[in-house]
Point group: C2
Chain length 303, copies 2
């Protein structure tokens, strides 16, 4: 089954304790696509400026990503600049230039509307709604968001949360959204708004999933000795998660659990190098081997 993703393609300037890069290919849709395409065909909707050399997206096309939905507009591509601190869990955004993304109206090529799985990457909730209205009969829709929309677009955000099957947020965003210290309380509040499940990303502490039928699932992060660049971890996590679902039969809780582990495995590769460098060379075989390592890391005998 095919996946639709709508989000940014950008150029990132990134500093971490392990080095720095300039104009590195990034963006939520780039990371998501690179991950999800390891599992299933991906339809990509985004916008870039005329400054982005078309061949920079070649690796996505070679992996089976349909880029007809990427609008090319006169002007500069979205740019983000950030710096990670010693502990790699916190970062400062030094600069964000929306550029061509500022006036982005997501328009889906006609056949994209048949995509069964839909990922609405972090963007204005109004844009997320516009995308959803162009999809005909999705099997599963998932959305991401960020502190900016929680603060400035709460009404629109609440509305789109009520329309999707799944929400993914960072732990700090869940706390902010629900005004609570407890992730469990925040997750319950969000599930009460409609979604079937919420996937909470916790960086080096892994991820947890809460589902409407009161199920909880926790996945650790892979115990990496060196995290070179955390950028894109959340989007590649979502890509591995949804990619696995799209490649599987069924969407029962058991499949969801395996999908969380696939997402965790893909994200653990993403952070091994800057931008999408590691994802570009990543193979499904490598992900599967890490999946099996996750199994060893977490399984124990029943009582």
């Amino acid at each position: 089954m095919s996946i639709l993703v709508v989000g940014t393609i950008g150029l990132d300037d990134i500093e971490t304790p392990f080095g720095s890069v300039r104009s590195e290919l990034g963006g939520s849709a780039t990371h998501f696509s690179a991950a999800a395409a390891l599992y299933a065909p991906v339809n990509l909707v985004s916008v870039v400026g005329t400054d982005l050399a078309p061949e920079r997206l070649d690796f996505l096309r070679q992996r089976g990503v349909d880029t007809r939905g990427v609008q090319v507009v006169e002007g500069q591509t979205f740019r983000w600049s950030g710096r990670y601190h010693f502990d790699m869990n916190s970062r400062d955004t030094l600069d964000t230039q929306l550029n061509v993304y500022a006036n982005f109206v997501p328009r889906l090529p006609e056949d994209y509307g048949k995509s069964q799985f839909v990922f609405l990457a972090n963007m204005d909730p109004e844009q997320q709604r516009q995308v959803l209205e162009q999809v005909r009969a999705p099997v599963l829709t998932m959305m991401d968001t960020m502190d900016l929309w929680i603060r400035t677009r709460r009404e629109e955000l609440d509305r789109i949360i009520g329309m999707v099957d799944m929400v993914t947020m960072n732990d700090s965003e869940v706390r902010m959204f629900a005004d609570t210290t407890s992730i469990a309380v925040g997750a319950r509040l969000i599930l009460a708004m409609g979604p079937r499940a919420i996937l909470v990303k916790k960086g080096e502490n892994g991820a947890v999933m809460f589902t409407r039928d009161n199920q909880f699932f926790a996945a650790p992060a892979y115990p990496l000795e060196e995290v070179r660049d955390p950028t894109g971890a959340g989007d590649s996590f979502a890509g591995g998660f949804m990619g696995y679902l799209a490649s599987s039969d069924g969407t029962e809780d058991d499949v969801f659990k395996r999908a969380v582990i696939h997402g965790s495995a893909v994200a653990s590769f993403c952070v091994e190098d800057f931008g999408v460098q590691r994802l570009q060379t990543l193979t499904r075989g490598e992900v599967d081997r890490r999946y099996s390592e996750f199994h060893t890391f977490t399984q124990f005998e029943p009582l």
Copy 2:
């Protein structure tokens, strides 16, 4: 098999967003004993002042804790005062009064030396060494420590780490000890000093264990909606962990994994109320039921 614990018995003044208590019974040895005694006989070595009414330790004795090793000294019992912030992950120590603990020389009743399992709670590494020298043939020794000793007693701390079978630390302490952002790197460094395993406590993010034979195991925290008081979580975790080991046959990695889950389960009860209030009423049956919940939270199908 029996367990020896050496650590503090104290009176705590605690403030959290959910309330406050004064002169609440606390201390590392109290929390550890209350937890471990659910599984196996515990020999307790500590010191209290004449201000502590002897009946405050009755619940421990009723649970099978031998308190003959608790010295009673003219003066005031150890006191700690702390305040937890909104997110419950950080706390300020407002005051620490060592009182009778200042001149504490751990002396084991003769028969305590036969204890097979030994927990050296957080204390001066020199005191920890004094305890170890009084134990004849332990099956497993484990020690805790804190930032103070990492900063001020590094040489003595390194020596005791080289003498024990297991180390337990918070994630921030591992980072400080090894001067690294990576828990995996820090754990490898500590294992290279001698211990067979290190248990890293991460509060609401659970716990991870690294063993010398390159094994890794991760346990999530129980998804509590309300954490009333995190005080003692680490020591009750250690108590559940070592208690389970002492009640089991063998110390293979599989038993260690189950022990980590028992520790996580006991700690999740500890934080439900102030001090040891919840541990006082806790039964092994309740812990076992939560163990099974942990199993559901973490198990997924292999590839």
